[in-house]
Every structure is written in structure tokens, then in C-alpha cells.
Symmetry: C2
Subunit: 123 residues, 2 copies
């Protein structure tokens, strides 16, 4: 990348917008959040990210691997053991993301009250 | 909300997962990021969030308003001036989100190198 160019997610053609979607998308955010708890095998991740299909989780992990956020670690045991873990860059992103997730989770009382008030004015 | 219950985005039926999607979704994240720069009118937001359609921006702002993150402020001028701004809760979320966006933008050199290396092993 030309270091003179700055990334800008607000520009529709900037690649960084796609990468932000990998990180914050429906399953990407939850996969990164789950891996923030530690390395995990595919099936453990699938249980943790409740509701994800096998196909969607595989696609999500592949996108995160391609972006350099996740490593697919094949251990030379028999049978081979495959584990997913965060790269240092992935860990930095996951940390920011988990802070955001925790803020959302901790705000749900306020959010539900706001939703009820909003819906009441629409009835 | 029953205060004894904890929100958990990893649980598929938890409302907090939907709210996380409002915050981090394709247009929600960019709308919150744009409003983090200050209150704005609809058309200014539409220019800032490059590529969003009128309909999608309206839906996005409505969801964020319902969640209590954004206020639609109608000023009693003639003609009325409508401005969108963050609530205190929305401002806290936007701050976390902008930190994540900046981390993504600042990592794009590393990400593009990782993508090129990944794609090279697939050729």
C-alpha cells in the first residue's frame, strides 16, 4: 500500500471498509470475541458462537485468516489437531471489539427502556 | 429487563446481539462514526457515509434512534431544521467504535500484506 494514502472507511471504495465489515459483521465480531477467550477448535467455536452454521463459520474464519487476524494452526499429531487463534494484530482488534461488546451488553437496560419508549410513541 | 439476567451477545436469542448489529452493521457503524464528529443534517450524513442510499440511511438512523443512541432533533424554525445527534450513551458507544475504526484503518498496511500472502498460497 502506498504509505502516502490514508485509509478511510467513509470512502465507499476503500478496502478498509470491507475489512471493518469482516471485523464487525454478524459472525466476524462473535468469532473474534470467542477467540479473545483463547485458541479454540472449530467445533468449540461453533458451540460458542450460538446459531452460526458450519458453512458461515468456515467462511468467517477464512476471511479473518486472510486479513491476518486469525491463524489456522494445524498440529502434527495423529489425527491432526486444528486450532484457531488470534494473531497479535487480531488480538488488538479483538480487545477493542470486546470492549464495545461489553459496553453494549452493559447498556441493555437503558436500550430496552429507550426501545419501549420509542415504540409507545408509535402505537 | 430483569436485572438478574445478564446480556450475552453469544446467545442467539439475546436482544443484545441485535443491538450489537445496529451498532456495528454496515451502515450503523459509519453513521455513528459520522455523528461522532458532531450533529448533522440528513443530507450531510448521506454525503459523509459515502455510498449509502436514502432509504438505508433513514432505516439505520431510525434503528439507532429506537435504541436510544441517536436523537432526531426538530428545531422550531421555519422551515423546520432537522438534525441528528448522539445521546450520551450513543457518544460512549461511538467513541469505542471510532477507536476500533481507527485501529482497522491504521492496520491496513499489515492487512493488505497478509491478504497478498494468503492469496499467493492459493494461486
Amino acid at each position: 500500500m502506498d504509505p502516502a494514502l490514508e485509509s478511510d472507511v467513509f470512502a465507499r471504495a476503500c478496502t478498509s471498509r470491507l475489512v471493518l465489515q469482516d471485523v464487525t459483521g454478524r459472525w466476524g465480531a462473535l468469532a473474534l470475541g470467542a477467540l479473545h477467550e483463547g485458541p479454540a477448535r472449530f467445533n468449540a467455536l461453533r458451540r460458542r458462537v450460538d446459531g452460526v452454521s458450519e458453512k458461515m463459520l468456515a467462511q468467517t474464519l477464512q476471511a479473518l485468516e486472510r486479513d491476518g487476524f486469525v491463524v489456522r494452526d494445524v498440529q502434527g499429531t495423529i489425527p491432526p489437531k486444528v486450532e484457531y487463534r488470534l494473531t497479535p494484530l487480531g488480538a488488538r482488534l479483538a480487545e477493542q471489539l470486546v470492549a464495545l461488546i461489553e459496553l453494549v451488553e452493559g447498556s441493555m437496560g437503558e436500550v430496552l427502556a429507550a426501545q419501549a419508549a420509542y415504540d409507545a410513541t408509535r402505537d
